[in-house]
Amino acid sequence: MSEKAIIYGLYKDEEKLKEGAQLLRSARIRVKEVFSPFPIHGIDPIIGIDRTWISICSFIYGITGMSLALLMTWYMMVSDWPTDIGGKPSFHFYTALPAFIPVTFESTVFCAGHGMAITFFLRSWILPGVSPKNPDPRTTDDMFCMEIESRMEDQARIVDMLRSSGAVEVNVK
């Protein structure tokens, strides 16, 4: 197995980085990671990132929250302690339901929102105490960085490609 080189191409402009990534892609070189201070729109298909499933997760959490609230309605008002409130008995699920709609809605939103945020934090592993992985502190300010893992023999070619696409700095590790 040959040695691997890690190359960082730093750009001042997100459009230049996108051009660079496109160039590497057409030369069949995989961009391992892109670090940027803000989302670069349109970079995902170039570097081969699929769309995120997080909104579908959120939908499932929301359905769970709704089901829990409905279960609660049934349990409290039908199963556990049927109550006649102000002469309006609600001993059946369907008679109890209207008064529970606001709470069911809140529960849906609560679970969907928090569940999604927790999934995001865990999947991206952004949690208190985690050490940042950006290779250069300027990538949270005004620099856009592309990380490429390559074979040693491709190194010079990649460095050239990065420079020609407008990288202001190329570092090899």
Partner: protein, 463 residues
């Protein structure tokens, strides 16, 4: 690349680069506060402390220390609760609804508006938890296993819905706010020189690195949270209005309440955002980011919501007469001409007439006028809640129990205390947190930055 029409006003003035944005927004965090900050902070902390004292007094003596009585059972407490909750709504509205509508001008103001939401909801929570009389038993509001039999809380009551709505709203707002803050904390972390602050911001930024996949998820999370918060914010104030609307008190028992309260909440919230931002942009030198155009946009929202509130007041008045119910008609006659006529007059002037001044471009683009009117609007919205609550209650069905309500110095103290708390927290926020979503703002720099727009226009003219 996206392009923006040349006739649209720029949202970032002068020539700024990505790095300049970071510098400008990190400056208040890294530098020392000026004397105005210390002055305002001292005043706010004094008011806050005074409020804590009054709260402790209430806790020790009970809510008999307040001016509320047998007839006027809800007064200053619920007025302030609704006022603060209403103010909170603009924060969510700015960040969520404007995000869904892809309004780029929200980016300079959403962070502080969200902070305002959280602090305002905290202030509101003080009043609701205290008004129960025995706040240490407030956990009874939640359905939990108990020793009272297996009796559950009354889910048929909007007061209970309120518990669920406000707590969900508060926690979702916190999540929304914090998620947005993470990349900005990372920026501050990577710039930090002092080891202590580096450590703190490293902790706060959760190890954010700005990877492409993280950004994709981040954007999706923001969008979905916005989609969830939008109906949430409408539900919260609708439920707050149902605290009144589902009762049978004349003046409260109206179906118009939910939309009318939501419009009022947005109206007062935007006014509070203006008050805070106008101070912020001066004290923290953010003139290039919080521009006159931003204020003009907000003033336009104020005209719209103010007019909605005005229509609601007038239709309520008309219906009270048209319904033929004499109790209803009297409740409104009493509001306008009874002993509390001045609060009704104050509400009408501040909320219905004053925002109409914004039809004049001169007024809506004048920062001084905006500052004054934003305070006027909030005074008016406070009066609105006072009018609805106190004047509907103080003359009930039996004339022998008619009475007046006078606030005690303790209630006034608690209210002053919450204003103090609000400003204390906001001022601390402005020193420790990035007050503008700086990384999000960078995404519109080349689109809406003044110098880039000029360049693009020159380029277009050349061809």
């Amino acid at each position: 690349m996206q392009h923006e029409s040349a006739i649209r006003d720029p949202l970032i003035l002068g020539h700024r680069t990505y790095h300049d944005i970071t510098e400008d927004i990190a400056r208040p965090i890294e530098g020392r506060a000026n004397k105005y900050w210390y002055l305002v902070f001292t005043i706010a902390v004094c008011a806050f402390t005074w409020g804590i004292g009054c709260l402790c007094y209430t806790l020790g003596t009970g809510i008999g220390a307040w001016g509320a009585n047998k007839t006027v059972g809800w007064a200053w407490d619920i007025t302030n609760f609704v006022w603060w909750i209403g103010i909170g709504h603009a924060g969510t509205l700015i960040s969520a609804v404007l995000l869904l509508f892809r309004q780029k001008w929200r980016m300079a103001i959403n962070r502080s508006a969200e902070a305002m939401t959280i602090f305002a909801v905290m202030c509101a929570a003080i009043f609701v938890t205290m008004h129960t009389g025995r706040p240490w038993l407030d956990y009874w509001l939640f359905p939990h296993a108990n020793q009272f039999g297996s009796l559950w809380v009354n889910f048929n009551s909007p007061l209970l819905w309120d518990v669920f709505a406000v707590s969900t709203y508060f926690s979702i707002s916190c999540v929304f706010w914090y998620t947005g803050l993470i990349p900005d904390f990372a920026t501050i972390r990577d710039r930090a020189v002092k080891p202590m602050s580096k450590k703190i911001y490293k902790f706060l930024s959760f190890g954010w690195s700005g990877r492409a996949k993280d950004w994709t998820r981040f954007e999706e999370v923001s969008l979905v949270l916005a989609g969830l918060s939008t109906p949430l914010v409408f539900s919260v104030h609708s439920i707050v209005s149902m605290d009144f609307a589902t009762s049978i008190v004349p003046g409260w028992h109206t179906t118009i309440f939910p939309p009318y309260f939501v419009a009022g909440a947005i109206f007062s919230g935007f006014a509070m955002v203006e008050t805070l931002l106008l101070i912020c942009r001066k004290v923290l030198s953010m003139e290039q980011y919080i521009t006159v155009k931003h204020m003009e946009y907000m003033n336009i929202v104020i005209i719209l919501t103010g007019s909605m509130v005005g229509v609601a007041y007038l239709s309520e008045l008309f219906i009270s007469w048209y319904s033929g119910v004499e109790y209803e008609a009297y409740a409104f006659l009493n509001r306008a001409t009874g002993p509390y006529w001045w609060s009704y007059a104050g509400m009408m002037t501040c909320n219905v007439i004053s925002p109409q001044l914004y039809w004049f471009k001169k007024i809506r683009t004048s920062l001084t006028a905006t500052f004054i009117l934003s305070i006027v609007v909030n005074i008016g919205m406070w009066f609105e809640r006072f009018v609805i609550i106190v004047t509907s209650l103080h003359r009930d069905y039996i004339p022998s129990s008619w009475t007046m309500y006078h606030p005690t110095w303790i209630e006034i103290g608690i209210f002053t205390g919450t204003i103090g708390m609000f400003f204390t927290f906001f001022l601390l926020f402005a020193r420790v947190f990035p007050v503008i979503a700086l990384n999000e703002l960078k995404t519109i720099l080349k689109l809406s930055g003044e110098s880039y727009k000029k360049e693009a226009a020159a380029h277009a003219a050349h061809h």
